[in-house]
Each structure stands twice: as C-alpha cells, then as structure tokens.
C-alpha cells in the first residue's frame, strides 16, 4: 500500500525534489504557495511590472559595477568619442565613457539600466494609483500600503543616487541642487552639507558615497521590503474587483501553479524585452553630450529624471524673494526650503497617512477584500486626482523652458500660469472629479432601474411612444448595486465635565466635520424594493392602454428578452 500512496520518484526532477523535501520540508511550502489563488485583472499586473523592472535593474546593474570606477580622481581622457578626447575628467566619468564606447554591449546595458529605472518608478507609481483608487489600502492592508510607500520613496533615492554616479555636468547640477536643499535647512544645513560631501561641495567624496548607497544599501532595503510586501500579499490574500460570486470571504481566480506561474513568468520576459527594445533603440542620458562635471556650466534644458521633475518644478515656481536675513546675520533660505522640503513633505505625508485618515472618517473597522469602483468613493477619487494634478502641474513647471521653446510661449507667463494652477488646479480637479463620480453613480442607478436603451421606439394605438429598454443581467446589476454609500460620522453628545468645551469632544467635532466633507454628498445604491417598484411600470399601468404595454412587454420578453419600461 505504501508504494502506491508514496511511489518512489523515478525521474531526475522528481528525485531531486524528493531529496530537497526530505531535508528541508520545502514540499509543504511549495504545495501551499502553488495552490494560492490569484484573481485575474490586468491592473493587478502593474506591481509585477515594477518587480520585474527591478530584477532587470539588478541584472544590468551587476554588469555595470564590473566596469564602473567610483572615484573622483582626475586624469586626461584618451579615447572615444572624439568630442571627449583629451579632456580632464574624473575616473567615474571616464569609466562611464569606457562602458559606453569600449565595453562590448556596455552602452546597451547602460541604456537598459536607465530605461528600466524610469519604467520601474513609473510602474510603481501606476501600481500605487491602482491601489489608491480601488481602495486596496483598507484594513487589513494599511501596513502594506506603508511598505509600498517606503518602496516608492526608496525608488526615488535609488534613481537619484544612480543618476548622479557618472559625474557628468547634468547630474553634477543635480547634486548641486541637493547641496542647496540640504543647506537651506535652518541651523543644521551647512553642517549637514559638509557632512554629506566630506567638506565643501563638490569635494572628492560624494561619488564613492553615492555609489555605496546606490549599489549596496538602497537595493538591499528595497529587496527586503519587496519580500515583506509580497509576504503581506500572500498573508492577506489578493483583493478582487466586485462581481457576481466574489465575496469578502473568497478569492475567485486561478492557482499560482500552473496558470499564474506561466503568466507571471512569461510577463517577466515581456518586461525584459520591452526594456531591451528601449535600450537598444533610444538614447538615454547621453553623458558624452554633457561632458565631465565642472561646477560652472549649466546647460539649457537641464532637468532631472521624470520622477524628480516635480521637485525641480517646485523650485522653479518659488519666487526668490522668500530669502531673508534675520537678526544675528542668519540667512533663511525659505525660497529653497519651502519648495524643496515643505511641499514634497506635504505631498508625501498625505500619501502615507491617507489610509488611516479614511478609516477614521469612515469609522471603519471592517476588513475589506473587495475593491471599490472609483466612482463609488467620489471624495477619495477626487482627492487622488487632485494629488496627481498637483504632481503633474509641478512636473510641467519643471519643464517650463521646453514648453516655452516648443510651443513658442513666454517662459515668464508659463511660470505665472503654473503658480496659479498649483493652487487652483488640484482644487478644480477635485471638484470636477467628484462631480463626475457622483454623475456616474447616478447613471448606474438609472441603468439598474430602467435597463439599457435599445433605440427601439414603439408607438401604441393611443398615440403614445415608448422606448424599449433591456434590463441588466445579473452580473451587470451586481457590479452596480453591491457597494455601501458611507454616511458621515454621527457626532456623539458631549459627555465630559466641560461639555462642548471638552477636548475630546472638540476633536470628535473636527473629525465629524472632515467626515461630512467625505461622505455628505453620496448616491445610495439601488435597493431591491426600488428595483421591483421600477419594474412594475408605475404610472404606465394606470394609463389607458396598459394592456398594450403588457403585450409589448410579454412579446419582447419572450422574443428577445427585452422589456418595455
């Protein structure tokens, strides 16, 4: 009997697996994981794009470290390209030229690495948008949102440190800005700058230091956090979009093995292929155009990679008058501190804290595994779009010179327009988005109650016209009615000894006000009672010719499944 239940493995793979399992017990974990169910939706693959571009970054990055020399000692270059021949440059820049022009496949690797970095942050941000707009950050996933948020911040740091390594004029300007930002911090700024650069900017320390951060510390933390991030996904189980049969208690989808493993494995190669295609056909960061770093020249069109563009824009928008000298001859560089520290601080704090704020104003302690349709949470969707608007306005402001040259506009006027837009734009975007969401919800209600318009007009003997409507099928209806329209928090009566002056009461009042902002305007889902009332034709039946309606209805419900409204 034992031989039939536990046959000895016969193939090489089977034997190796058995060998491993007997020594590590890995079989149990594999079985558990292979049977894990993942729901199918394209937007669930965005995080995978980020993961795979990170793997591509690790592979190409390892190749680059074999040839890159993180040193700022200067020497005269002798080699390709012609435009760099005979110039004095650091070893970092020299080795980057060496990688680009002498190492076989070096330029391709460099370009894939840089494109992968841009796509890594872009896909990470897109994934974050998906999670935000569908409410996938709600309990029990708030901590995983924070892990993801930290990954986003780390990806920006990884990008910035890597971008700076070649020690060219462009990235040197970026480091110069970072130096300025550090120095704008009151009291400790100048000490911090000396600490970071090992003396006066630029010194000869910063490239080796950034190198250590870029290839050791930051990737290690990112890897650890990715592990944690994915572990949380397995522990929490994946969220799913609402639909018939999908409940808070189940996950509808395919097991990891074999369907998802094949899909995800194949997708890695798709990502690698796209990044290789980009690296092979499109120049990125042509350092031989910028030349070796020298603190004096700054070329026109000097911008950081796209994910840092909002900081550049923030700096470009800030009027310079905010710098002043206080008593004690101390200079306060608010013109740098506000746009480069305070503005991103506000944006990032909002992102990190949002799940906790929303849970609090909702008074929500439930677990949520079914995703929200963005229209069903109008205020959250509006806030998200407002945030993106602020980010995009800042990014555009960071490109104001290119907008000016390409659209033949005055850079001064563009800057003023963006100065207004950064305040008005997010507010306006919030308002418009929320109205659109509420409108879509009303349209859903209308659709559930009255069905699809078919475009078929029927005239009765009495002269009355009606349009034939086709009712929604079960799945369509489920998606449109299975949500909760949250109500604002009720303000409890003051219980403390000081009545309405009580501190706890005042705080509750503030939260209630915020809750009203979130949930005062809402569209309730259609109830079964409303649905059956709508289907009983209401006043139509009372009108003369009610039998004719019924006739049309019955003909169509038997003929084509259509029903008159």
């Amino acid at each position: 009997m034992t031989t039939t239940l536990n046959p000895e493995p016969t193939t090489l793979v089977g034997k190796s697996a058995d060998y491993l399992d007997q020594r590590t017990g890995v079989g149990h974990a594999v079985k558990e994981f292979a049977r894990k169910i993942f729901p199918d939706h394209w937007s669930f693959l965005l995080g995978e794009v980020a993961l795979y571009s990170f793997v591509v970054l690790l592979i190409t990055g390892t190749f680059l470290t074999m040839f890159f020399v993180p040193s700022m000692s200067l020497s005269v270059y002798d080699g390709h390209p012609e435009t760099m021949n005979g110039l004095l440059m650091s070893d970092a820049f020299k080795s980057t030229l060496h990688i680009s022009f002498d190492v076989r496949g070096g330029l391709l690797m460099r370009q894939i690495h840089h494109w992968a970095a841009l796509v890594f942050v872009a896909s990470l941000v897109t994934h974050m948008m998906r999670v935000f707009f569908t409410g996938a950050f709600r309990k029990p996933r708030e901590l995983n949102w924070l892990v993801g948020f930290s990954l986003m911040v780390l990806s920006l740091l990884a990008g910035f440190t890597g971008y700076s390594l070649p020690d060219d004029v462009l990235s040197g300007n970026g480091i110069a800005i970072a130096n300025g930002v550090v120095k704008s911090i009151p009291i400790i700024g100048s000490y911090m700058s000396y600490f970071i650069f090992g003396g006066e900017f630029p010194g000869d320390q910063i490239i080796p230091r950034l190198f250590t951060l870029h290839i050791l510390l930051i990737p290690a933390i990112i890897l650890a956090l990715i592990g944690l991030h994915l572990m949380f996904v397995v522990v929490h189980k994946h969220t799913q979009y609402p639909g018939g049969g999908r409940k808070e208690m189940n996950v509808v989808g395919y097991p990891v093995f074999p369907v998802y493993a094949a899909k995800a494995g194949g997708f890695f190669f798709v990502v690698f292929a796209v990044l290789t295609l980009m690296g092979a056909t499109m120049t990125i960061n042509a350092i031989w155009n910028y030349g070796p770093f020298d603190p004096s020249p700054v070329s026109a069109g000097a911008q950081p990679d796209w994910y840092m563009l909002f900081l550049e824009g923030s700096l470009r928008l800030m009027p310079g008058q905010a710098e002043f000298v206080s008593w004690g001859d101390y200079t306060w560089s608010l013109n740098v501190l506000v746009p480069a520290v305070v503005v991103p601080g506000i944006l990032f704090t909002f992102l990190a804290l949002y799940p906790f704020i929303e849970a609090k104003v909702k008074g929500d302690t439930e677990e949520h595994h079914l995703l929200d349709r963005p229209r069903n949470v109008p205020t959250r969707t509006g806030l998200g779009v407002a945030f993106l608007t602020a980010f995009v306005v800042l990014a555009f402001a960071g490109s104001n010179d290119l907008i000016a040259t390409h659209f033949r506009l005055s850079i001064n006027e563009i800057t003023w327009i963006f100065r207004v837009l950064i305040f008005v734009g997010p507010w306006f975007a919030f308002w418009v988005t929320r109205r659109i969401c509420l409108g879509l919800q009303r349209k859903d209600r209308e659709l559930v109650l009255h069905g699809h318009e078919t475009g078929r007009i029927v005239r009765f003997a009495s002269g009355e016209y009606i349009e034939v409507h086709r009712p929604l099928d079960e799945q369509e209806r489920w998606v449109r009615v299975s949500y909760t329209a949250n109500k604002p928090l009720e303000l409890p009566a003051p219980t403390g000894p000081k009545g309405t002056k009580d501190r706890k009461y005042k705080s509750a009042k503030r939260w209630a006000r915020l809750s009203r902002f979130f949930y005062e305007d809402r569209v309730e889902p259609v109830t079964p009672a409303e649905l059956s009332a709508a289907h009983s034709h209401g006043e139509h039946d009372a009108l003369p010719g009610g039998e004719e309606h019924a006739a049309v209805t019955s003909v169509h419900s038997t003929d084509a499944g259509e029903r008159a409204h």
Binding site: D40, H41, W42, L45, V49, P81, E82, T83, M84, N85, G86, L87, S100, L107, Q111, W115, L118, V119, A122, T126, V169, L170, Y254, V259, K263, F267, V270, V271, V274, L275, M278, A280, T281, M282, T283, I284, N285, A286, N289, Y290, G291, S296, P297, V298, S299, A300, G301, A302, W306, Y307, L309, S399, D401, A404, T405, R408, S410, I411, N412, G455
Partner: protein, 259 residues
C-alpha cells in the same frame, strides 16, 4: 443608415471616430497649409543694387540711410557678416513684431544677399563674411569645441545645441540645421539676444572647433534615436508612452487571455 445606427454604440466607435477626425484634420491642414513662396528677381553684386534693395525692403524700419529708427537699430558698422546672417536665414526682413525675429524661408537669393551685405559694409567697417576655410568643420577639433561650447554656449543653446528658452518668449534657437557659416557669423556678430564672441574672446580657430563639435552632433547618437537631445524630460515622456504604454498593453493582453 440602419447598419450605421446599429454600430453607433460599438465600443470601438469612439476610437474610430477619433482616428477619422485626426485624419481629416491632418488632411485638411496638408492641403491648406501655406506653401513657401520664393522671390526670384534679377541681381547684380554692386553696392548700388544693394542700396536699392535696402531702400525698398529694409528702410521702413532701419531708416533710408540705415541710420536706425525707434523700431530698429542703426546698421552702420554692423558689417557684411551680420547682414549675411540675418538675411540668409530669413530672419530679416522681419515680417511680424514679436519677441525676436524668426527663421523663415529667405526672401533674397545669394546674389541679392551679397549686394545688401556689400551695401551695409560700405557704410562703415564691420566684421566680414567668413571664408569657407574659416568655417570648415573638418579642420576643427570637436573636443576643444565641446569644451568651449559647454562653457560659453550650452547655458542657452542646450548641451548639444538643441536650443533653449530665454525670458519673455525669446529663445536660443536649435543649431541642428544652422549652416557652419551662419554659426560663425552668429558668434562674431551676436544677433538678437546673443552676446558677441569677438576674436579675442573666442579665436577664429576656436570658433571653427565649436562648428566642428556642432556638426559632429548631426551624425546621430551612438545610443539610437536622439529623442531630440532634450534630456530627461523627453526621456521621461518616452518612458511613459513607450515603456508603460507597451507594458500596460501587454498586461491587458495577459489579463484578458484566460478570463
């Protein structure tokens, strides 16, 4: 019409309509866009012809004797190089008021331009038109040129001469299509917002090095498409359009395959 009405609600209808609208707009523009008109008049090279041309075409703004008016500067002493630069690039005669004169199809042919230049040069000594040897990119050193360009030119014209913005709608133009002779003349005469780089500042040999560097940029980039050599902003746009575009497309495809 019934077939059309039935397909009105097809889910690709908006995309088809949008494509049609774009196609029609593009087609109409291609038909109606103004074509380039060229003046083709007889010419001589002497100063008298130049004077006549000047009085007919330039005197409204620059004055009958090129002494300048409230709207345009005096041209006495600007030299032949300046006239050749402004007229051969089509910047002058200016057609519209604006932050700065635009490059447009030139209004005078080589002979007429030479006549105008000869006339203006006869009014007062100024920089002459450079010889072919002075502007020959093959004789310059692109590495020195790169260094000079970075320290003197890149802050307005971008690192490889793709152009850049100046204040109030003025701009430093792209140098990708500028002829070596015009590049030299621009450095020598400092047209519009550009400073003059005289021969003491950047020697004639160094000017030729700069030309060599700029012309070397036209061979394309070893990395593939240059994306306009505009730096990180255009790279970011392409990362989103090509990278995220293709990958989201692939994700939709993979996500749709089994469900």
């Amino acid at each position: 019409m019934k077939a059309l009405a039935a397909r009105r609600h097809h889910r690709s209808a908006p995309v088809v309509l949008l494509l049609l609208a774009l196609l029609v707009t593009g087609g109409v523009y291609a038909v109606l866009a103004p074509s380039q008109a060229r003046a083709d008049t007889a010419s001589t090279q002497d100063i008298e012809t130049g004077k006549k041309l000047f009085q007919a075409n330039c005197a409204t703004c620059h004055g009958l004797d090129a002494q300048g008016t409230e709207t345009a500067p005096s041209l006495i002493g600007v030299g032949a190089a300046s006239v050749d630069f402004q007229v051969s690039t089509g910047r002058m005669p200016a057609e519209i008021n604006g932050p700065q004169a635009q490059v447009k199809p030139r209004q005078f042919d080589d002979d007429e331009t030479a006549a105008l230049a000869a006339y203006v040069a006869s009014l007062g000594a100024g920089p002459a038109i450079p010889t072919d040897e002075q502007v020959d990119p093959a004789k310059g050193n692109p590495a020195t040129g790169a260094d000079i360009f970075r320290t003197n030119c890149a802050m307005c014209h971008n690192a490889v001469g793709a152009g850049g913005a100046l204040s109030e709608g003025k701009y430093a133009p792209s140098l990708f299509k500028t002829s070596p002779r015009n590049i030299y003349q621009a450095m020598l005469t400092g047209p519009q917002s550009m400073p003059v780089f005289n021969d003491a500042n950047i020697t004639p040999d160094e000017k030729r090095d700069v030309i060599a560097y700029l012309v070397a940029q036209r061979d394309g980039s070893p990395g593939g498409a240059t994306l306009g050599s505009l730096g990180a902003v255009s790279e970011g746009i392409w990362a989103w359009i090509v990278g995220i575009g293709l990958l989201v497309g692939a994700a939709v495809w993979i996500g749709a395959k089994s469900s």
